[in-house]
Structure formats: structure tokens, C-alpha cells
Amino acid sequence: MAVSVDEAVSTVPARDRPRPTRRLGGRGRSLVEVALLTVLAVLMLFPVLWMIETSIKENRDVYAVPAEFFGFTVTMEHFKDVFVGPDGGRSALSVAFLNSAVVAGVSTLLATVLGVPAAWAYSRFAVKARKDQLFFILSTRFMPPVVVVIPIFLMYRQVGLIDSKLGLILIYTAFNVPFTIWMMKGFVDEVPAEYEDAAMLDGYTRLQAFRRFTLPLLVPGIAATAVFALIFSWNEFVFAIFLTSSDSVRTAPPAIAGLIGGTTTDWGLVAAASVVFALPVLVFAYLVRKHLVAGVTLGAVRR
């Protein structure tokens, strides 16, 4: 009466089972794939390539009809113009880049310093109405910046933060903190609380346990989060153009936008400035690409 083990297992060897069929097999499929992907890649990359080309073309080649793809004279003049002003001193653009770096860097730092401990607290402690609080924090990101820029403008004018780097830093921090809390909470949730419990039993205080055990494990997550915050602050345009006016405070996005217009537009300079503007973000994204993927797929796999 007992069921023998053999009955329960299929007797057909694995290789004799029918294989799942494909409509487009092997080579044909990959050819189509490659062709489609190539078309897509050209479409996506063309503006970028064109920007890079324009930045190293002389002005008359920029306007050449038909457009020159290859045989043009390469020049680095535009890049020099980005950093060196017509009078030989620092250009307005280079000041804008420096402002961007300061504003983006400091606001990211602030958002990380405030957001990481907050995320840890929300992850570890039984906070009253935790879900509601987290939802409220997230809700500050529901509105696009352009909706709130007028009230912010009026408030900033009252307190004297208009046209100041501090004003930009504060508003970018305010926008990055919710994002940092939410993203970091995911990372903190992944680190077992038992590490801190164990460390506390081993003679450390709660904060020491956090700093010595949880924090090192969070570094990849912090890097990924900070890069996202940095990219947001670096790219931000709406607040920057509304809340700043003088060249000494203006960040790069409005400064580059300001190059377009007037009687003539120096497209070579615009392109070169754009290339310089895009580089830091590309480099950062490349450096933390592994963590970016980890950050995006977080929670998809159960430990």
C-alpha cells in the first residue's frame, strides 16, 4: 500500500522532454535584435554626439550647410571660453559651475546627514503613526517644483534668502531629505537589527552600535542615495532661475540657458558648457553604477 518513491518521480529523462519552441530561433532573432537596438542607440545618442561635436567645432563649421560630420577642424577654444573670460580672468560660466558644485555638494551633504539617521530611526523604532509620518514626508515630493516656486519666492524675499547660495542649498536640501529618508529606509531595513542588538549586549550604546556596525554596512546605499540627490541638485533648473539673479550666485543650468538668446548664440560655447556640465554626473553615475542597480532593485529579492 505504501507509495514507492519511484512512482512519484517522472521516469522520462530530462533531455527527452520537448523543448520550449521559439518563433524566431537563434541567429535570425539576434540579427533583428541588433538592428533594432542599433536604431534605438543612434536615436538616443545622436543629440549627445552632436553636442560633443559642436563643442569642438569652429564656429563656421557649426553653421556649415550641409553639416559636417567628420572632416572639420578640431578646436578647444570653446572649452577655454567656458572657463576663461574675454578679459583673461574667470568667466561667468566658471563661477556658475563653482556655484553649482557648492550648492549641490552642500545640499547633498546636508540631506544625507539629516536623512540617514532619520531613515534609521524610522526603520528601527516603534515611532507613533510611523506610516502616516513617512507618507507626509513623501507627500512633499508630490508637487513639481514649479508649483511651489512662487510661494517660496515670496517667502525667500521676506527673509532675505533671494539670490543667495544658502537659499538654494536650503531648498535643495528640503527636496532631497524626503527622498534620502525613503531610499535609505529601504537600505536600513535590509541590515538586520540584530547587529545592533548584539553590539549593545557587547557593551556599546545604541548610537555607537549604529555608527560602528550599521553605518559601515550602509555605505553603498548612502553612496547611491547621495548620487541621486547630487544629480537632482546639480540638474535643478526651476528654483535656480527663479530664486537667483546675479552672476555670482547663479548656478550652471540657468547660466547655460542664459547663453541662448540675444542677437547671436555662440552654439560652440553652449555645447562646450553642456559637455562640462554633463561630465561630473556621468562620472559619478559610472563610479556608483553597481550601487545604483542595487538601489533600484532593492527589496526585489528576499534575503
Partner: protein, 355 residues
């Protein structure tokens, strides 16, 4: 070493859930005390309160003579082993073991000596230079145990330490923990949801349910006289049969005619349930002396025994433990007979033991 006294421990979370409801425990010095219960019964919260990782709402905890209510975990002089081991991932075994000692600020020579001793005790000598992720689950748990005992704490707290191991390893580690505790003679509070683990390890077992202690007793007491219907259903595999009975002619009679010897002092005016262990029943040929007619629903051949599930009128799924030599096919009519002594009897409404 020290005993642990828990008095009227109450834990209520901000959202209103009561995790531990006025629990009293008195754990003796050198005792291996098991807290057993289903998930959410408050056993882990109680343990974490003893460790100081969770602050109780009200109630007192004493370790030895010290009232530890307001002491941080580090000052309670206890060690804890977690379900997920919680080995520091960036440290080698050696440093994981030395870590709590360095935190205490012991001199290097003594740290080395005590790490070596703990490693020998837990047979970790070959693994001292590995990192946690290079160790198997069993090895990680041995390191976690060694890290707990290297400090020579006043008490060990174990939070389901074997749950993540596979069955075979779990049995080995169980033996090892019991042996170790016996050898060191240190007080140990062990939390588990596995009744086999509780029965085989504990000097005494506390069964918890919904934040309350249902019963405290030695494994045998808990097995022989479960204090409530919950304990009766929780302890034993297969669990106790709970058969509704009525008192008539100095006997306990089930609806299907099964006759049991009543314990003395039974109240007459209440609805009663008798708890009968599967080994206190017997499946017989139909019509055997003292048997009632029944039908085999299914039989589980376990090698050393057969668990029969039988129906007799009005009572479904009665489990009977029989030697492997007695065989009946499913669906055959059989007899069911009570062979054990007096059963435990519970009140249907209060769910508590009446006699």
C-alpha cells in the same frame, strides 16, 4: 551566574498591541528555562526585555540581586544568541569572538586565552580566520554560541537559535547546547516555537499564549497534565485528542460511547472535554472487548510507529499511536479502546484544567 526574576512584566506597544501581559517568571540559578509558544505569543518580547533591548511598560526584572529595569543591555552582564546569528560580517571569527572582550577592555593576553578556550569548546579552531559568509549555517551558529560564552556572562539568552538550521544539524546543535549548558552550569533562557526542542532541552518549560503564561512545569508535567486546552493542543506530536465527554454512572462517556475513568472531584454541571494522548488509545479489531466501533480515515507509517486517524460516531479525527506491527487499511471498520489511566479533563468554557 544568577537566577532571573520577572515580576508582572507588561509590554504595550505605542499602537496599543499588548505583547506581554503581566508575566511572572522565576528562573533558577543554573537552570535551562525554555519559553515556548506560537509566533506572536510574547516569548521573544519577554526575552528582549530581559536583555534590555526592549523597555517594558510596567513590571520588574531582576538578574541575581540586581534590579535591571533601568540598566542598558551592556550593563546587565548577559549574552544573547540570535536566530540570524548576528555575527559582524566584516570581522573574522577570531575577532568576532574577541569583540565583546575588547569592548570590556580586557588585556590582550587574556582576550587571546579566552578566545582560544571558547574556540576549543565549540570546536572552531579551524575556522578562526574565516569571515562569517565563508561559514555554513551550523558553523555560524557555533561561532555565535562561542561569542556568547566567551564573556562568561551571568546568563545566556537564546532567541530561536536553531530555527535557521536544517533538521539534522538542529538535532546535533540541540545536544551540543544542552551539554554545554550542563557543563558550564550557567542560567539559560531559551526561546523556541518548536515543542520538540523545548521538551528535549528544558529543565522547565513556560508555555506562552497571547502574552500570558499558560503553564510552567517540567517537560513531563507539561506533557502529562497540560494546564489548559491550549497547552493540550500545543504539546505533543500528534497532539492530544480532545474529546467532549459527559459524566454518567461514575464514568466519562463520549458521544460515541467511549468510556474513560474519571479523575476524582469532577464538577457535574459543566460541559467537559477529556484530553487523551494518542498513546492512551488503541485500534482493535471491530467488536473487541471494551471497544467502540470506529473507522480508519488514514494511517501514517512512520517506521517505528503508525499514527491512525479514526472517526467514531460524533468524533472526527481521533489520533491513535500504534506499534508498526498492527496494520489496518484505510476505510476499514475497527474498534477504538481507551487503555491509559485517567485522562485530564477541561472545562469547555474556561478552557482550563478542572481535574
Amino acid at each position: 551566574m544568577a537566577g532571573i526574576e520577572v515580576t508582572a512584566l507588561h509590554k504595550r506597544y505605542p499602537d496599543g498591541t499588548v505583547a506581554v501581559d503581566h508575566v511572572d517568571l522565576s528562573i533558577g540559578d543554573g537552570e535551562l528555562f525554555v519559553m515556548l509558544g506560537p509566533s506572536g505569543c510574547g516569548k521573544t518580547t519577554t526575552l528582549r526585555a530581559i536583555a534590555g533591548l526592549e523597555r517594558q511598560t510596567t513590571g520588574d526584572i531582576r538578574i541575581g540581586d540586581t534590579l535591571v529595569n533601568d540598566l542598558p543591555p551592556a550593563e546587565r552582564d548577559i549574552a544573547m544568541v540570535f536566530q540570524f546569528y548576528a555575527l559582524y560580517p566584516h570581522l573574522r571569527t577570531r575577532d568576532n569572538l574577541a569583540f565583546p572582550l575588547r569592548a570590556e577592555g580586557l588585556p590582550k593576553a587574556e582576550v587571546r586565552e579566552r578566545v582560544a578556550e571558547a574556540a576549543r569548546l565549540m570546536r572552531l579552531d579551524q575556522l578562526l580566520d574565516r569571515r562569517p559568509r565563508q561559514l555554513s549555517g551550523g558553523e555560524q551558529q557555533r561561532v555565535a554560541l562561542a561569542r556568547a560564552l566567551v564573556r562568561r556572562p551571568r546568563a545566556f539568552l537564546m532567541d530561536e537559535p536553531l530555527t535557521n538550521l536544517d533538521a539534522e544539524l538542529r538535532a546535533d546543535m540541540r545536544t551540543e547546547i544542552k551539554h554545554l549548558q550542563g557543563e558550564l552550569g550557567t542560567t539559560m533562557v531559551y526561546v523556541t516555537h518548536d515543542q520538540v526542542e523545548a521538551m528535549s532541552l528544558g529543565h522547565r518549560i513556560a508555555i506562552l499564549n497571547k502574552g500570558r503564561v499558560e503553564q510552567i512545569g517540567t517537560p513531563l508535567e507539561v506533557y502529562d497534565r497540560p494546564a489548559s486546552l491550549f497547552c493540550a493542543a500545543f504539546i505533543g506530536s500528534p497532539p492530544m485528542n480532545l474529546i467532549e465527554v459527559a459524566v454518567a454512572d461514575e464514568k466519562l462517556r463520549s458521544q460515541g460511547g467511549l468510556v474513560l475513568t474519571p479523575p476524582p472531584g469532577l464538577p457535574r454541571d459543566r460541559r467537559l472535554v477529556a484530553g487523551v494522548r494518542p498513546e492512551a488509545l488503541e485500534v482493535t479489531t471491530p467488536g473487541a472487548e471494551g471497544s467502540v466501533p470506529a473507522r480508519v480515515v488514514s494511517a501514517e507509517w512512520l517506521g517505528d510507529e503508525i499514527i491512525y486517524v479514526v472517526d467514531h460516531s460524533g468524533q472526527h479525527d481521533v489520533r491513535v499511536r500504534m506499534p508498526p506491527t498492527v496494520r489496518f487499511a484505510a476505510d476499514t471498520p475497527v474498534g477504538l479502546r481507551h487503555t491509559g489511566g485517567t485522562p485530564t479533563v477541561y472545562d469547555v468554557h474556561t478552557e482550563e484544567l478542572v481535574a
